[in-house]
């Protein structure tokens, strides 16, 4: 697949043009990539979207920016609604994936118990979290995905606590597939979507999703920011099969994370402990490398 080929602008594409997403929105890129992966796999999907920017993307009734069946769920409920919906799909032998498309608030915070339960039941759904590390839809409040130091409207002097490790939580459920995706690496991104689409059972994908509005960054910097996050080890890109077999997809190249913080005005340069950040990133990568070695 050519990840840079222009999209056919027909109403069958997953994210139609004319939506109201912000410039530089990572979620838009993620949806576009998802649409291409489905096309390539000759697959289709229904979306279940909880409260988040993703449902605002649809636009106003009766029009919609989504070219697929799309159901809005309550904030905490997308994996549960998807469970019921997918059950009836399976009972009727109907095609197509049932995909939850949720932000970090709906995943790390309010929907975590629901997500955990769906994972424990190994529901036949794909859960994709576009993680912009903030409650973007409500104007930028902290979530448990917000990294330490980030200023949000509810952490005006910078968040004290670090980011929750949602991948470890999901891997601990021993679901068939869990993976992190970076849109700075579209080939890997597409490959992981293809892997998820080829499997059954619960699949969890975490996308590092830039949000210029919340990150106080320039829209044209979005992809560069997530590239630095991968290269410096801030956002490890890896996959976990059955909660046991780890594979690191993109190795950090020693890039200094300083630039990542410097280019986002949600961080104050002099408040980020870069040494501590480097230490945490190195430690996390070391741990992942051990896991990846143990199971290969």
């Amino acid at each position: 697949m050519n990840a840079t080929a222009p999209l056919a602008h027909d109403d069958k594409c997953l994210l139609r043009p004319g939506n109201t997403n912000c410039g530089g929105c990572g979620m838009s890129v993620g949806l576009t990539m998802l649409g291409r992966a489905l096309d390539k796999a000759e697959d289709s999907c229904s979306l279940v979207i909880p409260a988040c920017c993703g449902i605002v993307t649809a636009g106003a009734y009766p029009t919609t920016s989504y070219g697929v069946p799309t159901i809005a769920s309550t904030f905490a409920s997308s994996p549960a609604v998807a469970s019921g919906y997918a059950s009836i799909r399976d009972l009727n032998n109907e095609p197509g994936q049932v995909i939850c498309w949720a932000g970090d608030g709906g995943t790390y915070d309010i929907g975590l118990a629901t997500l955990s339960a769906a994972a424990e039941r190994n529901e036949n759904i794909i859960y994709i979290c576009y993680d912009n590390e903030i409650y973007g839809n409500t104007g930028g409040q902290r979530s448990s995905a917000t990294p330490a130091g980030a200023r949000t409207t509810t952490t005006p002097t910078g968040k004290v606590e670090g980011k929750k490790d949602i991948m470890s939580i999901m891997a601990a459920h021993a679901i068939p597939y869990a993976a992190t995706l970076s849109m700075a690496h579209p080939e890997d991104f597409a490959e992981k979507l293809a892997t998820a689409l080829s499997m059954t059972g619960m699949r969890f994908l975490l996308i590092h999703s830039p949000c210029p509005t919340g990150w106080k960054s320039e829209p044209e910097d979005s992809i560069e920011l997530v590239r630095i996050a991968v290269a410096s080890g801030l956002f490890p890109v890896y996959e976990v099969f059955d909660g046991a077999r780890y594979r690191i997809s993109i190795k950090p190249d020693g890039t200094d994370p300083a630039e990542y913080f410097h280019r986002q005005r949600r961080f104050a340069d002099d408040e980020i402990d870069l040494d501590e950040t480097r230490r945490v990133c190195a430690e996390r990568m070391r741990r992942l490398e051990v896991l990846a070695r143990s199971f290969h």
């Binding site: 009734y61 919609t64 809005a72 409920s77 549960a80 019921g84 009972l91």
Partner: protein, 397 residues
């Protein structure tokens, strides 16, 4: 058809399962289930049922139980669940969504006191807190009524003129755990009564449509108005469903307002649920002694059958509304709606509220006797009267 001695929970589990099974020739059935005393036996029954085309999903909360049920219903399945008390409170956000999505989900609510303090006994405050949502609400008196009403609720909810979810309610323990003689319908008759569900707005996998997203005020308003129009059609469609029920099962599932001795009554007791069983006996005795006392049982609470209630009380000079619930700062919920129903129609009618049986207190014949005594001695209606408690005692604080 067989006669068995079963609990209200058993009756509810039987009706929900048979209704789900009846949709096996269409898109099947699915539900989310979660335990809470005293309804747990209902979901246990459903979990054991060998559905030909169905899936029961045991989830991690009531909120998700309704969410799974919603997902299944949107996909066109016959979907149902059951809950009670704080479980209904926890589920509330998704209960609301099921209504506004116009999904014909049927839920059995076992009326249990909302906590704190922790209390597992009967009180209708839990389902009545849902009163302003687009759900039909039907209150039952015994196992037979629970079974019949739950089956009827599916037909009513799924009628294309209605398409609203329905809640069948029963008093905790007094119905849920008390065995009474119940005629059990055969699956073949349930199949005849409940045709394949055809949900016109179900989501199809090959259709690019978004539901539940943003709608501008005017669109939202139109959707609310459509709900109001559907609610107004319920009384007529209910009678059709009731008639068809009698044809298929040879039994009357009961009217939305049920009367006993009201034809000449000057004083009428207005009750719901199991209070009707006790009150009917008191009324029977009093009438045998020559007193012109009658009984009205409200079976349907949403939509509130104002016209039928007014008609049932045509000869009354004074009515007592017995509420096994308390809406904080006002009084009983049935009393509020009863007053509204008579406003401008019968301003001469004395309508007095009695709060009784709250938090699982027993409503005994003696309590009903006290209420009748108070009612007959009144010059005018006053504040709601708390029965079984001396509100003048300082120890109440």
């Amino acid at each position: 058809m067989s006669v068995q001695v079963i609990t209200g929970n058993h009756a509810a589990g039987y009706a929900l399962s048979a209704a789900g099974e009846a949709n096996r020739t269409s898109r099947g059935t699915a539900c989310g289930i979660y335990p809470i005393t005293p309804q747990t036996e209902i979901v246990e029954y459903v979990a054991k049922f060998p559905f030909s085309k169905g899936r029961v999903v045991p989830v991690e909360s009531e909120h998700s139980a309704m969410a799974v049920t919603i997902g299944a219903s949107i996909a066109g399945a016959r979907a149902f669940t059951a809950s009670s008390s704080n479980g209904l409170a926890y589920m509330t956000e998704n209960i609301m969504v099921a209504g506004y999505y116009r999904l014909p989900i049927v839920m059995v609510g076992v009326n249990r006191t909302l906590g704190p303090p922790w209390n597992i006994w009967a009180d209708q405050g839990d389902t009545l807190m849902l009163r302003d949502f687009p759900w039909l609400q039907l209150y039952c008196e015994d196992s037979q009524e629970v079974l019949d009403t739950t089956l009827l609720a599916f037909r009513l909810a799924e009628d294309h003129r209605i398409l609203l979810p329905a809640l069948t309610c029963m008093d905790a323990f007094i119905v849920s755990h008390t065995q009474t003689e119940t005629t059990m319908p055969d699956q073949a008759d349930v199949d005849r009564y409940l045709p394949d569900l055809d949900l016109p707005h179900r989501m199809r996998y090959d259709e690019a449509r978004t539901i539940g997203g943003l709608a501008w005020p005017h669109e939202g308003l139109s959707m609310r108005l459509e709900i109001d129009e559907a609610m107004k059609r319920v009384p007529d469609v209910y009678q059709e469903c009731r008639q068809r029920f009698s044809e298929v099962f040879g039994r009357d599932p009961g009217d939305v307002i049920q009367t006993f001795g009201t034809e000449d009554a000057t004083q009428i007791l207005i009750v719901t649920g199991t209070m009707a069983t006790t009150a009917r006996e008191v009324v029977r005795e009093r009438r045998a002694a020559g007193e012109k006392i009658g009984l009205v049982k409200i079976k349907m609470f949403r939509p509130f059958p104002e016209g039928a209630l007014r008609e049932a009380c045509a000869t009354a000079e004074r009515v007592a509304v017995l509420d096994r619930n308390y809406a904080a700062g006002t009084g009983g919920v049935f009393w509020q709606d009863t007053r509204a129903a008579f406003q401008g129609h019968r301003d001469d009618l004395l309508i007095q509220n009695y709060l009784t049986g709250l938090c699982g207190e027993d409503v005994t014949p003696a309590v009903i006797g006290d209420i009748l005594e108070d009612l007959s001695e009144r010059d005018a209606a006053g504040e709601p009267v708390w029965m079984g408690i001396d509100t003048t005692k300082e120890t109440l604080q």
